[in-house]
Amino acid sequence: MVRGARSKMDQVTATVLENRFVASSVYRLRIEAPAIARVVRPGQFLMLRVGQTLDPLLRRPFSIHAVHDSRTVDILYRVVGKGTNLLTAIKKGGKLDIVGPLGRGFSWREDLPSLFVAGGMGIAPLFFLAQIITQNGTGAKTSVLIGARNKIELLCVKELKAMGLQVEAATEDGSAGKRGLVTDLLTRKIITSRPVLYTCGPYPMLRAVAHLAREHGLSCQVSLESFMACGLGACLGCVAEMRNGDLVRVCKEGPVFDAYEVAWK
């Protein structure tokens, strides 16, 4: 099993190669950051300084979405507030102050079938994991269940298929794939195969996936979100409760956790 490694982090000034509108309010940011690209593992994240002034004050966390040529790193982000809004203004050639890679990423088994369950922006880190798993190509079957509110917000489907993955989609309004939630797809899927689950998305979805995994006795890894002030394990702000009662740092012990260990609310 490939352990969810911690890589050597650094604070670097990266050059923006591209900051492109993808769909709806989603952008893809491509940066040149070899120091990070070389060591980062799927599920890890970066802390970006999104503005030049003191408002917004804190960095913003973003998952690694993809890595190319050990030089460039992609981030897929949705504009939800003032920080992500400012981020859209950064142009090609601009500089970004980045800390990373941070956190503990996914631990994956290349010899077992993998099933990715992504909701909304949850595809961001799973895409990188898919990239790595298919790249290493040891061959076990990997499929992707992906859900979104509507067709426009359904991201990366073409790219995932191009990687040779089997992709099934669900949208809440039925504008693409099955109408409904990604967890509906999952219920059917689990019955027919016994994959390891990797999931990222809104909390209620993660909880549902975790419950299904438990019911069926499947191994399941979840990437959690939390408000992060430092991302470094220093502020103790980002904690999540574990089943054993511990409050652990999502930025350091996570963001990827074994679904069984999390105290779901």
């Binding site: 300084r49 004050l57 804190l58 408000f227 470094l232 394990g233 220093a234 502020c235 702000g237 980002c238």
Partner: protein
């Protein structure tokens, strides 16, 4: 003509710092968290996360929320407890060449005394910072920080129990901070540090719930700098013991404001989250300033405000 480099060192009672830049408690973990990003041995010193006698789980999340130019936190003093600190965290810190200051918090005077005794008995601790001001602990804590008699009592207890220099950390949530500073000075504190966080709150209007599980939290960051600076100036003018300034320091210019106002050292807190290299840049920036303004040492700058 080549200038000699200015002397950045300062003294806080018996404690000598190679430069006046410390990390603020609770914002730098136990040092190790920043090891990959900061040359720890360049710091004036490290103040570690507040320690209690027993490990504390802290408050339930959410524990932090951003506000305009500020950060509200209600960590609730989560910490490993004094014994785990000594066993697991101190060995790393002891290997550094800089002073390690331990921030302590008790529920009552007895706990403060026990903490001071226990920490005095081990190697590698340069001073204690007595947190009488944490707003996030329901019992104890806050009372000591807002009543000058209680503040003096805690100080005396720690003074009697500790063989280390004692810094008492003051709360800004008071009518008259000078009053409290004088009381702890009289009670035997070697220095005071200020400010801890201002008590604040934030509400999510969509859910109509507080943004912090604990409802209220402590406000830090640049938003509070003017208040911190005013209090440091007031206290520095009123006590004879050294004053350590803290609150919203992001840059060398911010740190210089506190030194000029009368602080003989500063603590950098929230800035570590925003810019992990903040302390390094502040140290360099202070040095450059001293050179540019022809100060031979940082001591000459302290309290040099022109009125």
């Amino acid at each position: 003509m080549k200038k000699t480099r200015p002397d950045l060192s300062v003294r806080i009672g018996l404690l000598r710092l190679q430069n006046p830049v410390l990390t603020a408690s609770g914002t730098f973990g136990y040092g190790q968290e920043y090891a990959g990003l900061v040359d720890l041995n360049r710091l004036g010193g490290i103040i570690v996360k507040g320690l209690s006698l027993q490990p504390r789980p802290g408050n339930m999340p959410p524990r932090t929320v951003e506000t305009p130019c500020g950060l509200l936190n209600a960590i609730g003093l989560q910490n490993v407890g004094v014994e785990n600190f000594i066993a697991d965290k101190l060995p790393f810190l002891r290997n550094l060449s800089i002073p390690v200051i331990v921030n302590i918090l008790g529920q009552d005077i007895k706990e403060y005394r026990k903490l001071a005794e226990r920490l005095s008995s081990v190697e590698g601790i340069a001073a204690l910072e007595v947190n009488i001001s944490c707003p996030n602990v329901k019992a104890g804590g806050v009372v000591f920080g807002t009543d000058y008699k209680a503040a003096a009592r805690v100080t005396r207890a720690v003074r009697a129990a500790a063989e280390l220099p004692i810094i008492v950390k003051l709360s800004p949530n008071v009518t008259d901070i000078v009053n409290i500073a004088r009381a702890v000075e009289e009670a035997g504190a070697d220095a005071v540090s200020l400010i801890n966080t201002l008590t604040g709150m934030a509400i999510d209007v969509e859910t109509r719930r507080p943004k912090l599980h604990n409802v209220t939290g402590g406000l830090s960051g640049p938003a509070i700098k003017p208040v911190a600076l005013r209090m440091v100036w007031q206290v520095a003018g009123a006590v004879k013991i050294p004053v350590i300034g803290c609150g919203g320091i992001m840059t060398a210019a911010d740190a210089l404001e506190f030194l000029i106002a009368g602080a003989c050292a500063v603590q950098v807190g929230t800035a570590n989250f925003v810019n992990p290299r903040a302390t390094m840049e502040i140290i360099s920036g202070i040095e450059e300033y001293l050179v540019r303004h022809n100060f031979k040492d940082v001591k000459s700058l302290v309290g040099s405000l022109i009125l």
